[in-house]
Symmetry: C2
Amino acid sequence: MNGAQALIRTLVDSGVEVCFTNPGTSEMHFVAALDSVPEMRGVLALFEGVATGAADGYARMAGKPAATLLHLGSGLGNGIANLHNARRAHSPVVNIVGDHATYHLGFDPPLASDIDSIVRGVSSWVRRCERTGEVGRDAADAVAAAFGPPGQVATLVLPADVSWSEGAEPDASIPHAAPAAVDEEAISQAAKALTSGVPSALLIGGSAMRREGLEAADRVARATGAKLLAETFPARLERGAGIPGVERLGYLAEFMSLQLDGIRQLVLVGAKAPVSFFAYPGKESYLVPDGCEVLTLAEAGQDVVAALTRLAGAVGAGGEERGASKEAGKLERPSGALTAESFAAAVAVVLPEGAIISDESNTSGLFLSGATAGCPPHDVLTLTGGAIGQGLPVGTGAAVACPDRPVLCLEADGSAMYTIQALWTQAREGLNVTTVILNNRSYAVLNMELNRVGVEVPGPTAKRMLDLCGPEIDFVGLARAMGVPATSVERADELASVLEQSIGEDGPHLIEAMVPSII
Amino acid sequence: MNGAQALIRTLVDSGVEVCFTNPGTSEMHFVAALDSVPEMRGVLALFEGVATGAADGYARMAGKPAATLLHLGSGLGNGIANLHNARRAHSPVVNIVGDHATYHLGFDPPLASDIDSIVRGVSSWVRRCERTGEVGRDAADAVAAAFGPPGQVATLVLPADVSWSEGAEPDASIPHAAPAAVDEEAISQAAKALTSGVPSALLIGGSAMRREGLEAADRVARATGAKLLAETFPARLERGAGIPGVERLGYLAEFMSLQLDGIRQLVLVGAKAPVSFFAYPGKESYLVPDGCEVLTLAEAGQDVVAALTRLAGAVGAGGEERGASKEAGKLERPSGALTAESFAAAVAVVLPEGAIISDESNTSGLFLSGATAGCPPHDVLTLTGGAIGQGLPVGTGAAVACPDRPVLCLEADGSAMYTIQALWTQAREGLNVTTVILNNRSYAVLNMELNRVGVEVPGPTAKRMLDLCGPEIDFVGLARAMGVPATSVERADELASVLEQSIGEDGPHLIEAMVPSII
């Protein structure tokens, strides 16, 4: 078999079953080989940022990597923003970048560029496949590297001739490395700190954001009186009725400082010490309060959930205690014009059990977390790396991973336009994704940031760089043009009804929700 | 003044008058500073690939750089594909990439990534602004570097605090370096070769593709009997009635080999020795015929046009001779169903003098060059680097550079979808751009390439990765949703009429031309 066939066969044998792709000529043998390994599902994207974001969303929900297939340095470039988000999410991704044939590169053909340099910005594991006979091993190594732990973007650069040459064999899959156990010393230090009576907080993130981790963290917090906080942008957060709730640190540094005020000991569990998302003139970057001691119980690559469970034991937390999540009460159907509040209420009132929310609602989503806290159990995938244009692709990949669960993309208008091509893939694959575009005709977050960085009276040119009027974007038209049924709504009750219907029907839908800016 | 103000003022004083931007929080002071330097025109793009492609198109037509303004490593990533094309076009671009504040980077905030590594793939001149007091100098140096010669992407990485701090001053502009003269030895060697009686060809590219260079090259070819050939993908080609025509090397290696068959001496003038665009199993990469001697008269950074003129003198070409361009005859208006041929005829029949064609028509454009050879003088901008998604952004930038000239984007459907957001910028800026989408519902070039790389009977999965059916994309709907009036046509006479009308009206238009695939 040729290199491409051995590569795909090894991927499939290693559990990689989906390839999100936007291929070019140098990847044609990989594309052709898809037919020889029918267990691999190829999903076409019209733009590489859709492919990489979908691989991220898939990994967050499937707990294992998908592959991407990108065309040379320029295709990789188009995929970088969402690879960046995947990197920050610790999502395992096998990122395959086709390259010119090995002997062709020396001629510097027009599409040649420095792939190895470009990819270093988002991928710490990079291997260039040098020989066809070793492609199977390279693929198995890439899958193992992607798993980590922690998960990461593992990049295989695949020259065309290595792909098309004969003489390859698939390689055996490599058992995934288990996350390293936290040593006893770290457990006892954290236990000692949390039971010392000094005002403390537990800051959790990563795999601690799933039910088991949240329950253990909640038990620790309740037994010790420590404040329970979570990272701002979790890759995957399980929440809703019956799951202990957790207060996420705010996006705004001012808000984060308030949340951490008075804390003298901060125990990190799969999360990093809090820093401001951006720097602002005269403001602190590092947001741990002065004099607060920082202890690390477990880092991202370690067995975070086991560490929390052991910590619960060490602080004498009772096994019978249960977290104080909001109970699913009867929510009232919102009415009247859409606002950020009534938008959140409309989502909350219809959100079904098992829903997956891909949340890139930005400023318009301010009230979402509060409104949906008591909803039936669901998952929330957030903008881990801050590179906008994540929401639609991540929702697309999540729907491929979980065909039986409804996916809800809550998407700001400005952000949606970076990767709007995702709608086409949703239509082609018949994915059960409902996208709500929060259309405020503005980069609202930037209007806020303009003020926060100290520009008090922006001039007309600056303001024009941040508004999305003139022309107004018609998201219903965009969706329909890519094969996705769409509706525009201006009232909260209407949103709830259309949402309910869309979630209940197969295939993708888009709802343009005209929500005025909160800024 | 602050760093951002000094930066923009220096740019303007150095002749940089347009900034194509998609900014984020770290660039807010630059955005705010636009109001303090009204000579700088800010043009907002909804996606960075539009901004970088527009800067490329602007540079090709204005002969000087625009600035970009991109947000961190992820915004840079989104812009890489078209920066790659700009690099291959030798377009001068001042590529400004905002970064976190210098002191903030050490905290590894979510949006931090290795900008310096990512940018190296497309920019050989990179400077990180370290101090506010030096920003003016950095900006002047960047403009000088962008000019080259040859032109290049010069990248300034601008940390937020360097931008917002006070104490900066604009710096004086730096005179552009003139292209180096070719030494006499190269002229006489080329003259000797071309007059030796050995079958020879002149392969021209870069700045030789403008009228003056073409006239000189044509005189040389006519005086010596050398074959006159041009590079496949020129950044800017002047052509039409009264301008000597030139045969461009084909995209397909097979075709290129035919064009070069029998040539024993190849003289390069601002062009590189011909290589295959991609590698194919068992085919040559380097397409200079065996035994053919390659001489370089002038490289891209040298004074290519002067060298050609001197060469014309050295070979004794008469000053009075004029190139044998096709004369503008009365073209017949095509009729019947659209085909690749009748599409080309429809463009030819309406093409006005001074039109600028941004050509990313790919397979559907096969007959374009022949059909339009005798049209009134016009410019053609081609896909220099092969990174698709160039056509709409380059056309957008060309229209900003040349507000009095009609721009025609001839755009393949698959390629259009990478940077379709360009339509919104065209609408916002009221640019006189007519986009023709050649809709064959397929990545037709890849269907051809699949066969050329040796896949003879592609399976259904492979074929599905290359077709754009299911769902079919409605380009009229996409355009209207972004504020661009649009029409779909299926007949050649209809295309000619709608084209004529669209070109004659102000503002952007889109025409979806249903042209069956030639593959």
